[in-house]
Amino acid sequence: MRSYTIIIFGLLLFASFNLMGQSEFTAEEILQKVDENMSSNSTITESKMVIHGRRNTREVVSKGYAEGNEKAFTEYLAPEREKGTKMLKLEDKLWIYNPSTDRTIQLSGHMLRQSVMGSDLSYEDLMEDRELTDIYNAKIIGEETIDNRKCWLLELNATVDDASYQKRKTWIDQERFVPLKEELYAKSGQLLKQITLKNVEKVDGRWYPKNVNYKDVLKEGEGTDFIVLDIQFNPEIPDYIFNKASLKR
């Protein structure tokens, strides 16, 4: 009788390990693979931001150049009102050039927390350049299916004091190593923002989500869609692009 109990207990333990979805990867390895897939030394992106307001929907088209995590330059191409507006980010500094006033201003402090062109994204969201693994401690807390894709559900808890979000949950596609959904939480555990990534396509041999929806869940509305129209990985970007002089060019 006693030996049966030990065998049954052993089988249950084995089954429960399997059910917990112990993958061959650790959470850190998954994040690293996601980083390898999603980031590159440099990118040139043409994108469309669809801002769903309470009354109307606006579309802003822009072309962005990025090198590493510390250099980024964006030029707005449409609509007419925003055309010619340029943004330059160098390390932790951000400048904006407005063609109607022909002035360049540096954003700092609370101005960085303002919304970008009325969207659900703040300048600070665009500025965040630290790797997730530098800020968060990740662990796999389960498996879920999103859009018929099997995903690992990772919970990320901040290991530094100055992370904007204390906790994140992210759903990573098990085959393509692309996040399909992300939830950002306040210290109190209140869900603040939800990011949904769709339309995952293979670009230059890597999987990349071409449609990202950012939603401030505390606010009514459909959030902001960020649609990648065209993306180039690792192109050569001339140095003069990441220069303050290029704002007025």
Binding site: D161, Y165, Q166, L184, A186, K187, L218
Partner: protein
């Protein structure tokens, strides 16, 4: 002298409509001057009283980096004060936050205030009367513009001292009614102990409100603004307003004085024989000048009497019932304290001052044309040949 007054009175009454027109317009000016100044004095007194009661207390000890006109200073403009130095001071900590009523996002200033403070009229005692996790008191403008009422629970999102987001529900426990929009619109008042806990800024304040016992001594990193300094801007705005409205009544006074001047010139021309007779009967020329000057200044005395008779009930009515201000003026932040009803303050000094202004200016304009009499040849005057 008595004779001069009697003669002047008879002449004025005898002139009929012309006199009453002059007196009428001068009386109107008299009423307008008193009314405008009383209105501005009333506004000034009310605004000062309310600002002290709701916002300034007996002065403010501000963090050296804090600029109330620059919200970007709020992030870093806060600090601690040694407890010995914070005697008779009540701390206020300001942080920026977002409020989400009914799915809308509103940027607000959350102000932490001591629940036991007595320096300001903000009803902080309401914090003690509730068991809400985060109780908040707001002003009626804030409540109206965002359709909030007592008992409402609204989600608030803020950042702690390191910039990490946090969010929780606040409960509106009291809505106060204040004339001072700068402590109302876009602001929520919560217990400072709670705000310290929420932001991890224990003991920090952006500024302190001084009570009447506070004696200021230099404190490094902090700058003290006395009640008078804080009210200076308000006084300057009202003085500027007073100067601009004085143009209107000076114009009115100018018209009235011009009418008196004109009447004087005409009466000297038409009453040449009378002037000649006075001199022939033994009056000196200057006595005649005095007679005509008194006659002219009599307009102002009559206007003052008429002004007081007509104005008194009007002044009394407005001083007791006030003048209602339009909603858009009181409900929006105009950058200056404006009560919903302004009660004009008609002081004795204002009455005497206006009376003196009207009488002296009327006397001067009566005297100016009368000077001509001093040069008149009595024979020509008797013959009516003075041009």
């Amino acid at each position: 002298m008595k004779l001069a007054f009697q003669l002047a009175y008879r002449n004025l009454v005898g002139a009929g409509l012309r006199t009453w027109l002059n007196v009428g317009i001068l009386a109107f000016t008299f009423i307008v001057i008193i009314f405008f100044n009383g209105y501005l004095d009333g506004w000034n007194l009310q605004a000062q009283r309310e600002s002290v009661k709701w916002e300034y207390g007996n002065g403010q000890l501000r963090h050296q980096d804090y600029d109330p006109l620059d919200p970007f200073t709020l992030t870093d403009a806060h600090g601690k004060l040694a407890s010995a130095k914070s005697e008779n001071l009540s701390p206020i900590l300001i942080r920026q936050a977002s409020l989400y009523p009914e799915g809308r996002m509103i940027s607000v200033l959350m102000k932490g205030i001591d629940g036991n403070q007595q320096s300001l009229s903000i009803p902080t005692e309401a914090f003690q009367e509730t068991d809400a996790e985060i109780p908040a008191v707001i002003g009626q403008r804030m409540a109206k513009s965002n359709s909030l009422k007592v008992g409402d629970k609204i989600l608030l999102r803020w950042r702690d001292k390191n910039g990490t987001f946090d969010a929780s529900e606040i409960t509106i426990v009291k809505i106060f009614d204040s004339d001072v929009s700068s402590i109302d619109l876009g602001q929520i008042w919560i217990p400072i102990e709670k705000l310290w806990e929420m932001t991890e800024l224990k003991g920090h304040a952006t500024y302190f409100i001084a009570n009447e016992h506070y004696q200021h001594q230099e404190i490094s990193g902090w700058k003290f603004f006395s009640k008078e300094e804080l009210l200076k801007q308000l006084k300057e705005i009202i003085e500027m307003k007073s100067a601009s409205s004085s143009i209107l009544y000076l114009l009115l006074l100018g018209i009235a004085l011009l009418a008196i001047f004109d009447t004087q010139v005409l009466s000297i021309f038409r009453r040449q024989k009378e002037i000649g007779t006075y001199i022939a009967l033994g009056m000196t020329r200057w006595q005649v000048v005095k007679l005509f000057t008194i006659e002219g200044s009599m307009y102002s005395l009559m206007a003052s009497v008429l002004g007081i008779l007509i104005g008194a009930p009007i002044f009394w009515y407005f001083a007791s019932n006030g003048i209602g201000m339009p909603e858009y003026v009181t409900e929006e932040d105009m950058g200056i304290t404006i009560a919903q009803r302004i009660y004009p303050a008609f002081s004795f000094g204002l009455l005497l001052g206006t009376l003196a202004l009207v009488v002296i200016s009327a006397t001067i304009v009566s005297f100016l044309p009368s000077r001509k009499i001093a040069k008149i040849d009595p024979v020509d005057a008797l013959k009516g040949k003075v041009q």
